[in-house]
Amino acid sequence: MFKREYTDDELIRRVWDVEEIKKLVYKRGVYIANDWRARELDELWVREPEHQKTASFGKNIGWYVGMDNIRAWYDKKHGAGYMAFHPASTGLVELAGDGKTAKGLFYSIANETEANGDGTAKALWMPEKVAFDFIKEGGEWKIWHLVAAVDLVCEAGADYSGQDPYPNYESDPVMLEFGEPTVKELIHDGTFNWWDDYPSMPAPYETWSDEISYGPEGWKPPKGKHYGAKEGRNYK
């Protein structure tokens, strides 16, 4: 791979690029907590039309593609009893050699709570791996592609080792909330832990290509034999 030489000034600016990218991810956590979904899309995601067309938001069962489709699903307000945070930890950021794009991978022990309407609330843990592609627009980093691959969903206080070992995405509350994505594909199946290795770790790279995207254009069927065996409940 081509190895660039950077000046001291370029190096410190690259250091700050990574800091700004992490801050963008952390801000997204606060926006989720504040129930600012519309503001998240308006302020933290891509704005340039050509990037908006290819923006994507994925979960285990596929991707919404294009900001209009993402917005149609994601832009909603919660009521009293809502509380959520997705603390991004274990940040792994690769900044392109040309400094125009970046890729990031985080793990989040996320929680989301919503009222049941009877004086109680459903409080859920949802540990997940969250992957991002970022692109710089007018000097500011923006989210371009996002995949939140959920490992399991468990009510707070419940013993998740007592869960059915075969998750069912037709009844899983997170997947029900995700609805019917633009591109339907089983991209991460918790039945097999991380055999599918998706989203996988970003590798150092020089310049962007769709081959490395966390959007559907960059997805390749995993090589694990479970995939071809079509095991588990979630294959259709």
């Binding site: 250091v15 801000k27 907590a33 930890s89 409080a123």
Partner: protein
């Protein structure tokens, strides 16, 4: 636009602020809260706020941390009485720190250093574990909350100036915060803890309402925004 040297200095400032909060969390973990004020705080009109009130001024903040020390010592002495075979015969210094296990992991730092480099602001999410001995005996709590902090640069480095440590959840581990919590009865051997009281707040007031299923959507403490001088931005002082 900052020069190479300025950017490097600002990165070092940001690292120092992250490290400061890491040290703070470790001092709490070590049950040495009584060292927190002298090591980490500014004496210039500091404020320390919790969900239900605020300490204002150096003496009030210091008194709070000293009370943490007193409570830690009380817990250790009660455990010594409860477990004489294991702890009997040891001095109060030797047993100090037994019992409380308070973990405050700092997630998702959003830090802004003033353009003038004299102050900074930071917001962290804290998914913590507060395991302690209470009047009902040992109790493990999980906490979900926020650290929102103003910092000031002093001669010997960055200091905490105004801190809010506010939680949404502070409940018994293993019980859903969306349902009624089981309350455990007091045990006679730990009853003195029911009488322990931290110093009265300078002002008792609701800073943040804990989560309940009917709580309106409650925003986090404000996100720090880029600013030039402290007078140009908001304060986390309560």
């Amino acid at each position: 636009m900052y020069s190479t040297e300025q950017l490097t200095q600002r990165w070092e400032d940001q690292r120092a602020i992250k490290n400061l909060m890491g040290k703070y969390a470790n001092i709490v973990l070590l049950n040495r809260e009584q060292e927190a004020f002298s090591r980490f705080w500014s004496e210039n009109e500091p404020t320390l706020a919790f969900n239900d009130g605020v300490y204002r001024g150096a003496e009030a903040v210091k008194a709070y941390y000293n009370a943490c020390r007193d409570r830690n010592a009380l817990v250790a002495s009660l455990l010594q009485k409860r477990f004489p075979d294991r702890l009997g015969g040891q001095s109060s210094e030797e047993i100090y720190g037994i019992g409380p296990f308070k973990v405050m992991p700092m997630y998702c730092p959003i830090i802004e250093i003033a353009g003038d480099g004299e102050t900074a602001k930071g917001l962290w999410y804290c998914q913590g574990a507060k395991n302690d001995v209470e009047a009902c005996g040992p109790r493990a709590r999980w906490t979900l909350g926020w650290f929102a902090v103003d910092f000031v640069r002093e001669a010997d480095g960055w200091k905490i100036w105004h801190m809010q440590y506010v939680n949404d959840v502070d409940g018994t581990c293993g019980q859903s915060w969306g349902r009624e919590q089981t309350v455990y009865p007091d045990l006679p051997e730990f009853a003195p803890l029911a009488d322990f009281a931290y110093p009265a707040y300078t002002e008792a007031k609701t800073v943040r309402v804990y989560y309940t299923p009917d709580r309106p959507v409650t925003e986090a403490p404000a996100i720090p925004q880029p600013y030039e001088h402290f007078a140009d931005t908001f304060t986390y002082a309560v």
